[in-house]
């Protein structure tokens, strides 16, 4: 389905609370926000009743696996973009670990085009740091940066750039085009065969442990490297208390480091592995309640800059297996905002303006996206998400827009529902339905 990128009609959103503030009207016309105020009228505009809804700038995900090319049975750019729209996202960063790997201008441009064609969400490709994620040879980072996809985020996600020298070079090299290296912090030797967080539960279950230090050691090293070469580092899916402490320390020293946390690490703990159901198997692994608490605090105080989903679709058979043989990862685009509300807003740790920052403004800034993560203000691109924070919903994997069903929240009742998503003035979701 091909959609035009600019809206053909105008919309008048009535009574929305912008970033949780006082109710007001938002007039969208020609893809931009034309007016904001109370009691607005526009005869040519289609009215959208947003009484009681919260208006957020369209959400931006720094970390999404769309699986295309290579694993179109799990997800495609088009299906992933629909899932993103249903979750309130207007832009997602597609991770590079596809097959073939997004390590050339050709592959990133293909992904970028598929996103444009889908029309449901902007898809910004992430380029691989090393060729084929081999961890040894730099990919043509400059060619990807100069391509029509304008890649700014580079990551070997799934694999850690563990070679300290190569990491240094990558950090230095991307300075030429204001790029950022997004590191998957996992010391490989400390995590050989690792299955879940190393601790009381792993020892009891007999599953090979994944120590927190394997993440923290890499983060500490990379922060020091970044500081040394004066570059920019982004840390993917921070999962431990120690990582938060190291990031806080590094930021205090003036290191230009940013970090993300996933919704599932804000909520779930390793005790879920007691079921041996690999729906809870994920990389990095679910940690302890103490870690969850530290991550929430880190996100609240800005030590962690943003929430990223690490949306990782897998076909059913990849999860209907013994734990050790099952794939790692969870889908997350369609549940992220609800989980953030539940863990951060409903607990009083973050207000809606904070959510707008952590889920839209900050990730767009880190990814250097120009048309996203802008405040809801006159003249800005009309990327708007309308969210009913008072709603409750039961998570039904079968009803998801993603092609995959591997959500850890199946059967859970969560707060909030995305009612509408506007991408440059065009509704991709309206009344909770994909358009």
């Amino acid at each position: 389905m091909h959609k035009t990128l600019e809206a053909e009609s105008a919309y008048l959103i009535r009574g929305a609370r912008i970033a949780g503030g006082d109710p007001g009207d938002i007039l969208i016309r020609d893809g931009v926000i034309a007016d904001i105020g109370t009691g607005l009228t526009a005869d040519d505009a289609e009215p959208v009743d947003a009484e009681g809804l919260i208006a957020l700038p369209g959400l931006v995900d720094l970390h999404t696996h769309l699986r295309e090319p290579g694993r179109e049975d799990a997800e495609t750019v088009a299906s992933g973009a629909r899932a993103a729209a249903m979750g309130g996202y207007t832009a997602v960063h597609a991770m590079a670990n596809t097959d073939p790997v997004a390590d050339t201008a050709g592959v990133v441009e293909q992904v970028w085009r598929l996103g444009r064609e889908s029309g449901h969400c902007d898809v910004q490709p992430v380029g691989a740091v090393t060729r084929g994620l081999d961890g040894r040879h730099l990919a043509e980072l400059g060619a990807m940066a100069d391509s029509v996809a304008r890649v700014r985020v580079f990551s070997d996600d799934g694999m850690c750039v563990s070679d300290a020298l190569l990491m240094r070079r990558a950090l230095e090299y991307v300075k030429a085009f204001d790029g950022v290296v997004a590191q998957h912090a996992q010391e490989p030797r400390l995590t050989e065969g690792a299955q879940m967080n190393e601790g009381v539960v792993s020892d009891r279950l007999g599953l090979t442990g994944w120590p927190a230090v394997a993440e923290e050691a890499i983060i500490a090293r990379d922060c020091l490297l970044t500081e040394h070469v004066g570059s920019r580092l982004h840390v993917c899916h921070v999962s431990t208390k120690g990582s938060v402490q190291i990031l806080r320390w590094a930021k205090g020293r003036g290191c230009d480091v940013t970090a993300e946390v996933t919704p599932h690490h804000l909520l779930l703990t390793d005790e879920l592995a007691e079921t041996y159901d690999p729906i809870y198997k994920v990389n990095p692994p679910l940690r302890t309640a103490e870690d969850v608490h530290a991550l929430r605090e880190g996100l609240a105080d800005g030590t962690i800059d943003c929430v990223a989903t690490d949306h990782a679709p897998h076909p059913i058979e990849a999860k209907e297996a013994e734990w050790a043989n099952a794939a790692m990862g969870m889908v997350g685009l369609e549940t992220a905002l609800s989980v953030v509300q539940h863990t951060m807003v409903d607990t009083g740790m973050l207000d809606w303006a904070g959510v707008a920052d952590r889920m839209s403004i900050a990730p767009a800034r880190i990814g250097r996206l120009t048309g996203h993560g802008r405040p809801i203000a006159v003249g800005e691109p009309a990327n708007v998400t309308l969210y009913d924070a008072g709603a409750k919903r039961d998570i039904d994997p079968a009803a998801m827009a993603s092609k995959s069903r591997n959500t850890p929240y199946q059967g859970m009742r969560v707060p909030g529902r995305v009612v509408a998503t506007f991408l440059r003035g065009a509704p991709t979701v309206l009344k909770g339905k994909i358009q």
Binding site: R204, L205, G206, T208, W323
Partner: protein, 311 residues
């Protein structure tokens, strides 16, 4: 349907029931007809993803002595080796009407997974580095036979605790039955959270030996030294092996156990393994009685009398 997935699933009363039942079965095993009609018409599948002739034969003999129909389903030469998933295998067994499935698998938790896919009782015969509950039952049975009690018994478990399903199951069961367990291993072969386990921990075998009623030696694979768990097999053996000198320092009446297969010269010397205090062969014999008891209690009645309430 109920299952036996972990030794921790058994309450004290249930564990005693298994041991008493096994003892009664062992007492009458010398009679002319060794078979009981109890499980006539019931089908037990031995689903073995790992080679283990010892355990599989023990289960097979136990099931046959109870008159169950036994199907051996091993990974080699079956659909499993052609890439069939555990779930599809489970559904096949389900369609065949298996009343009980005995599973040995290299992955921790596979018995739990199987229990969610079949209606029959699942009996964990060793899942990865997780548990091996019938081994713990037969070990405890052997201790009770030899020592006359389990409560208050001081048991040292020595060797590769980190990778041992036998150690995990024994710690749980012995704790349930009131024994005092001390785990002995180099720190590298000890789980990081072992201080939270219901047992004591020591790195010094010589200190623990004279205070032990039972010394259970675990197999240590020499390949572990490739991952730097210990420098050399010789050093391991010197610090943690049960050789003649250490054996001489055991208390009077103390016994030496080993779940097998033994690596003679590594964790246990030949003369210790063959001594009168070694229960290695008794453990094998007792294994059949204990497994008969477990099969009887899981499958003999309308529902299981022991074990984990599955879904």
């Amino acid at each position: 349907m109920r299952h036996l997935l972990s030794a921790g699933d058994l309450t004290r009363d249930e564990a005693v029931l298994v041991l008493d039942t096994a003892a009664e079965l062992a007492r009458i095993s010398g009679r002319s007809v060794k078979k009981f009609p109890t499980l006539r018409g019931r089908t037990v599948v031995n689903l073995f993803y790992e080679d283990s002739t010892r355990t599989r034969t023990s289960f097979e003999l136990a099931a046959k002595r109870m008159s169950a129909d036994v199907i051996n389903f091993s990974a080699k030469g079956s659909s499993v080796s052609k890439g069939e998933s555990l779930k599809d295998t489970a559904l096949t067994l389900q369609a065949m009407g298996a009343d009980g499935v005995v599973i040995r698998h290299g992955s921790a938790g596979s018995a739990h997974r199987l229990a969610g896919w079949v209606d029959g009782a699942v009996l964990n015969a060793g899942d990865g580095t997780h548990e091996h509950p019938t081994q713990a039952l037969l070990d405890v049975y052997t201790m009770r036979e030899r020592m006359g009690r389990v409560d208050g018994l001081r048991v040292a478990i020595v060797g590769d605790i980190l990778h041992s399903r036998v150690a995990r199951s024994n710690v749980l069961l012995l704790h349930t039955l009131g024994a005092e367990v001390t785990l002995v291993a180099p720190p590298t072969l000890m789980p990081v959270s072992v201080p939270t386990w219901p047992c004591a921990v020591s790195y010094d075998l010589d200190e623990v030996l004279p205070k032990s009623d039972v010394v259970m030696m675990l197999r240590v694979q020499a390949e572990r030294m490739k991952d730097a768990f210990f420098p050399t097999a010789r050093e391991y053996s010197r610090r943690y092996g049960l050789d003649r000198d250490r054996f001489a320092r055991l208390q009077d009446g103390a016994i030496v156990m080993h779940p097998g297969p033994m690596v003679r010269g590594m964790e246990i010397s030949a003369e210790v393994a063959d001594s009168a205090r070694s229960t290695v062969n008794e453990q094998v014999t007792n294994g059949v009685s204990v497994r008969m008891a477990v099969l009887y209690l899981l499958l003999g009645g309308s529902g299981s009398a022991i074990g984990n309430q599955g879904d």
